[in-house]
Amino acid sequence: MELNSIKDAFDCVIKKQALSTSKFEEAIEQIIQEIDQTLSGIQSALNGLSSQPDHKSILGELKTKLKEIAPLGRLEGTQKELNIALSKYTKLLEKQFNPDISKSYRNVDFDSHTVNQIIAGHFYREGLFDIGDCFINEAHEDVIFVRKTRFLEMYEILESMKSRDLGPALKWATTNHEKLQQNGSDIELKLHRLQFMEILQHGSRDEALKYGRTYFAPFATEHFSEIQKLMACLLWAGKLDLSPYSEFLSPTHWAKLAQELAQELCNLLGESYESPLRVTIGAGVQGLPTLLKLMNVMAGKKAEWECMKQLPVPVDLGTEYQFHSIFVCPVSREQASEDNPAMLMSCGHVLCKQSIAKLSKNNSTRPFKCPYCPTEVEVGQCRRLYF
């Protein structure tokens, strides 16, 4: 797609429109002038200065003059040019862009309540609480109260972190201490560590020491070396940038920890890290061109389109949209499923169960040849794979 040619066409439109406007102005000005002249003509006739005795004949002259000039008629040329430029731009847009992206839309029941719930969830997750509330109001939907409060809490914690206040985050970590331990997460220690460094940098060595004594203890066994380093920092209080631990001061820790915290928060809430609406729309943006092309090919077969159970062509999405392992048997080109799982043959190649059955001609005792290497494979030795 060439944006430059589109921009040029638009510039052309602007030019023609400006031209048209100025021509209009000229025409009006002309008429005004003619009338003014006529008026002064009549005036001088009144004063006996002109040769024309009658105002009627002066008016008659005006009429003829204006007919000659035909101001409106002269505008026709510019108008035509403007119209050409306008339609040229429209045609260019239709050519360079896909003029109807709703072609591949299926007429299925897209329950608006469900969609609204999804949107509301998205707003709360993004921290747009006012907009979410306004939306719920206008759409007359029920508030998903529990989810909203969760996201509110999460948002508060993350916002405080932005202003270097770890209070809410630490409170949350302590409350959820057990769950975090269960998940094997060390975020609590990381938070305490950051707070410790903050105190050491801005406060006193004693305060930091006190803090460390209070909060590092539970982590002593598992993260001993880490805590050793932190306590050693006390020796360099005031000159931390010269210490071997100067990298602890790096501001990137805040950003990194904020991200980890966000992930951990979502994890504990049972939510995904990314807004599912954003993910789906992202996938839609990537996949829609393929679907539209497909629809073009299937132009006359609308009924078939509406009731297909599986897309006939693959839609290529980026790896970030790959949430599940899909195994496609290289022989049958079918996707593996519970009934037809992927099986590892003794040679290391993988086929689906049904393909193996076919190749071995349903005889589970005789070995068959792997289609990809000269090895002979026994059906009984094939192992089911779990991705």
Binding site: L3, V13, Q117, E138, T280, Q286, G287, L385
Partner: protein, 415 residues
């Protein structure tokens, strides 16, 4: 045995983490070129984005021109009349014509200013499309999501939310709030069973509706006729029909006859065919018709953009595995609401295997081949190597808890 939770992902896949409320800077430089080409490809879907303000611009130009031409013609014919007047009257008349023309000049200026504002809006959108490049992909995508949401709000008539959302990210130039407000007037009136604004809209867009062979005006007139019949104003109804329905008779004779027959049946009729014409949901039908005509005129899709992209995305993401209980939370289709929407949609299809490591969530390909544990579970080389290094060569299958030696894994060859 209950599957154990995933070990901590040591590598935060930077391409997955895009801006959340924390708006974190991208932790790696250089964006894969495939992402950029995908972005440029997706620009082709933005026809509506450029077309709508342009149609509005064209309309304004046309309306202004018509007004100016009309006024100029009026003045010109006023001049011809001046010949019959007395001298003094003629002078007065001419002076009034001149001031009319001066007024017209000012109007022309105002009109030109309005046109320029709209041209600026068209330009702003072109600039926005041009601004999409490697440095701001995720921001550009975020803006697109907001635009799509505003479009949804406007279609559903949630105008407050639309305005708030547009203001919150300063994208007022990139969305069509004013244009939908134009529609709002008509829709609200129709909801109150008034056709006047709708008819005015038809008059405004007469030539284009005619070109598209629209019968919307006819339907509005029919409804007015029915309302007259409903209130037993039969005489007026007939007069109305003569004036406003007759011109459409040639094209829509049958329909006209049917509606005309309501005169005989009145609004209390039990006869089904005619009863339905008196029902209030005829007004709902008119509102829908208007929305369709409106969208068509401006080059907008009939469905909200959100629905179009959602459908495409859901279908592209839908696999049978999404509906299982252990579907990862990161998959939108693990959520009930998404699953519900995706039910009637087709599954996605793959021609080649795409395997994702349960532990690292990374693709298992030739650079990071899949390895098989003795229990049949498969993980990536990277994940198992790391696990073995940190655990004296021992590997614990995260899903079954069974422990093996790294030496016991076999390689799988997946094409």
């Amino acid at each position: 045995m209950e599957p154990l939770p995933n070990g901590n992902s040591t590598v935060t896949n930077a391409t997955t983490a895009s801006a959340t409320a924390t708006s974190l800077p991208s932790l790696h430089a250089g964006v894969p070129s495939s992402k950029l080409s995908q972005l440029t490809e997706s620009l082709k879907l933005e026809h509506q984005f450029l077309r709508v303000p342009f149609e509005h611009y064209k309309k304004t130009i046309r309306a202004n021109h018509r007004a100016v031409e009309k006024e100029v013609s009026a003045v010109m014919s006023g001049l011809s009349d001046a010949g019959d007047l007395s001298q003094d009257d003629a002078v007065q008349h001419l002076n009034s014509l001149v001031s009319r023309l001066q007024g017209l000049k000012r109007k022309l200026e105002d009109g030109s200013r309005a046109e320029n504002l709209q041209a600026q809006r068209c330009r702003a959108r072109l600039d926005h499309l041009e601004s999409a490049d490697a440095d701001n992909i995720s921001e550009w995508n975020n803006t697109r999501l907001k635009r799509i949401l505003v479009d949804y709000m406007l279609r559903m008539s949630y105008y407050d939310t639309a305005t708030k959302l547009a203001e919150s990210s300063s994208i007022q130039d990139l969305v069509d709030i004013e244009i939908f407000y134009e529609a709002k007037k008509v829709i609200d009136a129709l909801r109150n069973k008034e056709v006047a604004p709708a008819l005015a809209w038809c008059a405004d867009n007469k030539s284009r509706l005619k070109k598209a062979k629209s019968k919307f005006e006819f339907q509005l007139r029919l409804q007015e006729f029915i309302e007259l019949v409903r209130s037993d104003n039969n005489v007026r109804a007939v007069m109305y029909a003569r004036k406003y329905l007759a011109p459409w008779a040639a094209t829509y004779m049958k329909e006209l006859q049917k509606v005309f027959a309501t005169l005989a049946f009145t609004s209390n009729t039990g006869c089904e065919i005619y009863k339905v014409l008196f029902e209030p949901k005829q007004w709902d039908y008119l509102m829908d018709q208007f929305k369709q005509e409106f969208c068509r005129l401006y080059g907008m899709t009939l469905e909200p953009l959100l629905n179009i992209y959602l459908q495409a995305g859901l279908s592209a993401l839908k696999t049978p595995f999404c509906y299982e209980d252990d579907c990862t939370k990161e998959d939108p289709l693990s959520q009930e609401s998404f699953r519900k929407l995706a039910m009637p949609l087709p599954f996605s299809k793959q021609h080649h295997s795409k395997l994702v490591c349960y532990i690292t969530k990374e693709l298992m390909d030739t650079e990071n081949p899949p390895l098989v544990l003795p229990n049949g579970y498969v993980y990536s080389t990277k994940a198992l190597e790391e696990m073995a290094t940190n655990n004296n060569g021992k590997i614990t299958c995260p899903r079954t808890g069974l422990v093996y030696n790294y030496t016991e894994v076999t390689k799988a060859y997946i094409s």
